[in-house]
Symmetry: C2
Subunit: 561 residues, 2 copies
Amino acid sequence: MNHYDITILLLGLGVLLGVARIFGEIFKRMNQPAVIGEILAGVLLGPTVLGRIAPDAQAWLFPQAGNAAIALQGFTTIAITLFLLVAGLEVDISSVLRQGRASVLISVLGMVVPFGVGFAAAWFVPEWLGATDGAEPLPFSLFIGTALAISALPVIAKTLLDLKLYRSDFGMLIISVAVIDDIAGWMLFAVILGMIGKGAGAAFSVPTTIAATLAFAALMLTVGRWLLDRALPRLQAYTTWPGGVLGFTVAGGTICAAFTEWIGVHAIFGAFLFGVALGDSGHLRDKTRHTLENFISFIFAPVFFASIGLRVDFFSHFDPLLAGFVIVIASVGKLVGCGVAGRLAGMGTRESLALGVGMNARGAMEIILALLALSAGLIGEKTFVALVVMAIATSVVAGSLMEMLLQRKRTVRFFDFLAPAAFLPALGGEDRETALRELAAALAKSPGAPSAETVFSEVWKREQLVATGMGHGVAVPHARIPGLQAPLVAVGLARGGIDFEAPDGELATIIVMILTAKESTQMQLELLSDIGGTLQDHAVRTGVLRCKNYVELLASLKSAG
Amino acid sequence: MNHYDITILLLGLGVLLGVARIFGEIFKRMNQPAVIGEILAGVLLGPTVLGRIAPDAQAWLFPQAGNAAIALQGFTTIAITLFLLVAGLEVDISSVLRQGRASVLISVLGMVVPFGVGFAAAWFVPEWLGATDGAEPLPFSLFIGTALAISALPVIAKTLLDLKLYRSDFGMLIISVAVIDDIAGWMLFAVILGMIGKGAGAAFSVPTTIAATLAFAALMLTVGRWLLDRALPRLQAYTTWPGGVLGFTVAGGTICAAFTEWIGVHAIFGAFLFGVALGDSGHLRDKTRHTLENFISFIFAPVFFASIGLRVDFFSHFDPLLAGFVIVIASVGKLVGCGVAGRLAGMGTRESLALGVGMNARGAMEIILALLALSAGLIGEKTFVALVVMAIATSVVAGSLMEMLLQRKRTVRFFDFLAPAAFLPALGGEDRETALRELAAALAKSPGAPSAETVFSEVWKREQLVATGMGHGVAVPHARIPGLQAPLVAVGLARGGIDFEAPDGELATIIVMILTAKESTQMQLELLSDIGGTLQDHAVRTGVLRCKNYVELLASLKSAG
């Protein structure tokens, strides 16, 4: 690689990562999975948008051939391999085993029905699914079936976390089902890749590939799991912390990936299984997990997802009828399969529907599968684009539909309701009344707030009943106002301390004023418990007391814990 | 990239990382910098060793050309860029500014003298330094001067940490000097690369490159620093934590790297400066720093350092006379320059010498510089190998020589003296005497231990004077034995608790018995304070109490904190 190649490689990588992260953040803000924004970033930087506006600049920054192109492709291959390693770490086999029959029933029905629908459609009306002329019917139909049968574990896990359902029985059940589907889906796909020989470089015959894949999976999930569980404490005892475990994990995952690639299925299958086997060990420390997850999900994964958009022109290959058909059969298959299974397993109608909606989210997994199928020549660009659109559409609706069906609220954080003008880094008054007047005036500047006078009188009335000192130097004056649209929060710092009659006798230095709607007691309780939880850590309180403006306060609260 | 390319890329990467980490660990065990082991791993896997034993296997696993080779080279380029980004983060400009004159004097003299020695030698006797036939004298001499003038900030920082000198006045001074040397050295090298045009792809004339480099550096260290310091709190406030900052850091570093590569100096200079500017901000959280450092130093850096050994046959290009000459002039230059400057700045003779020895460590920086010079055609393979050998030799001796000169001891950890047989996961006795007898018997199994009877009677005698319950459920029975070669430690867990008369009244569940030499009071105090510090954390104690064997205990203690 010469001077020029290195420049282009690094620039392309930096731009891809930067734009992907920006769009990821924007989608997160809209309560959507970040991965959708990351894919969109690639569509913008690829032939679809940038290539139409400024084809020369696009071709210069992201060349299709040459050393920089090969190096970037190599990097994205490594990126997706490591991403699947982390996805594997998230899988908790032990809890799957604990869930027992219900999860097996739901996952089998939840896969068989959409698989059947997809297979039948691809078999009987392949042209409706954009089958290319030379496509062999059997692998194509098997692939479409598989593509419709899988679910996106990360999207589902994230949605459940948002709805505070992750650790509930329902949450653990749905996660177990997703795990089984994930493993089964990848194995099926591995078999299909084996069937078509995957073009140049395949070293083995089809039956050998299939047998080797199954043997490898069985071995990793039994002996491999056991060995890794025994190896981890030794690594932690005898090597540098955390470098020993990190190096071992990445090296092990990469070597397993090379192995599965060699036997004729894709590399990511090996990395995924290694992750599953390793993540199952109780000896894996949270710190190792977090370092891997943070770096890989925020650096490698965005680069990979954005790179998808560089390969295909999404505009010229978008066929609305095809995409619509895929979305319909995918959703019907999953909803019917999971819904019926849920009812059979004794769940209520709403829960069964919510289960179906949740499992219907295809997310990143579908896109990876589709990309591999495209590279392997199993499907054409039109089917690829339709599958990507289906993955995005099903993921986008899953969260809000589940929320509606289960009548759950998303987690609220008190600082989400804090307007910039409502933070007073240095309260002037030294007594409770003056401080509350100041805070009420600041809070009244928030959009939709009542007048300062109303705020003060309501809060003061409440304060007279029982003082709101929580202890540890935190006070939470609050009131409920009839007809308030959204909660309002103001924060004031009084470094000298003001007496709010806390049970521990400490003067309050951090004063958080809350207004909620009269109609919702729930919201007030949630906000109070969030404030208590966030500020109970001494280090967080010290950090907050150091803040000189709104941005610093938000930064300090967000990065707490 | 086809099937075969991907297999080779992933396998090569996994093997390189795995072997590099293993050798890194071995060298760490021997109190040597891990980077030496990582380089050695590459020498083993490269043409020097594996290429001699099994040339076909070597060429298959690490091909010199083709897609897999290009992709691996791209990955190592990204790896070294990110490594310099992290190295930049470690630089603390503010503390350099605080050190004032002494650090400027020492760094100027400490660079000018070795630079002069190197330049003169290369100018007058280029053949002694292995100058290739076509080499232009001026750039070659400038490069050798620079190569002798730099110091290895990471090696020095690590040595100071080991000797518990990092936060002392002496430590801060030596770090400041190393930082100034680092920045000056890289700028000098940037200028040299500019001078020789760096071959194919150079977009600018030499003066333009030099001017642009200086302007970029000046800008990054002033406006850039200020902007980044303002951007960080906003990023933390308005983006996902920690993904926003992580993505921003890597994307920013990579784009700056592309910029410096484009203006005609190497990419790593831009990443390094971005790191310096960002790392200076007080808003950068420790967690972000650690995630980046852990992943990059334990994953990317080992791959890069090992890949050096893949490029050159160290055996056939090793010229002992040349290497010896380089080591001598490098060491004389640094020792004289820093030594004299230290004396001038009012330091004692021992301190001045220790300063010279410390700054003499060239470590990873020298090797990176040498590799770039080799790729740019500035030096030949012989000079390259000699510089690598010099870098390793000076780094290896720095730690132990400084230790000797300053009469400092390395940090001790109590579990370093715990033999496998001396851990009793479940003490049988329920009273103090029985427990101590059990522990004494276990401790007596350690190599070099006195008899169980002696151990018990000494410890029991001490226990009668004042009971050794420390509180929080920890007890530390101990004694000093005349003529004991090395400290001995035994650990016993008594889940039911045994009364050691702790001031807080808690029964002891973790009992750590210590024997030290009668002659050294210091060691006993250090071990006691280490035990207290390590076990004061509730989570660590809970982890320890869960351990069922020696390996688990060691793993649990090592990964604490």
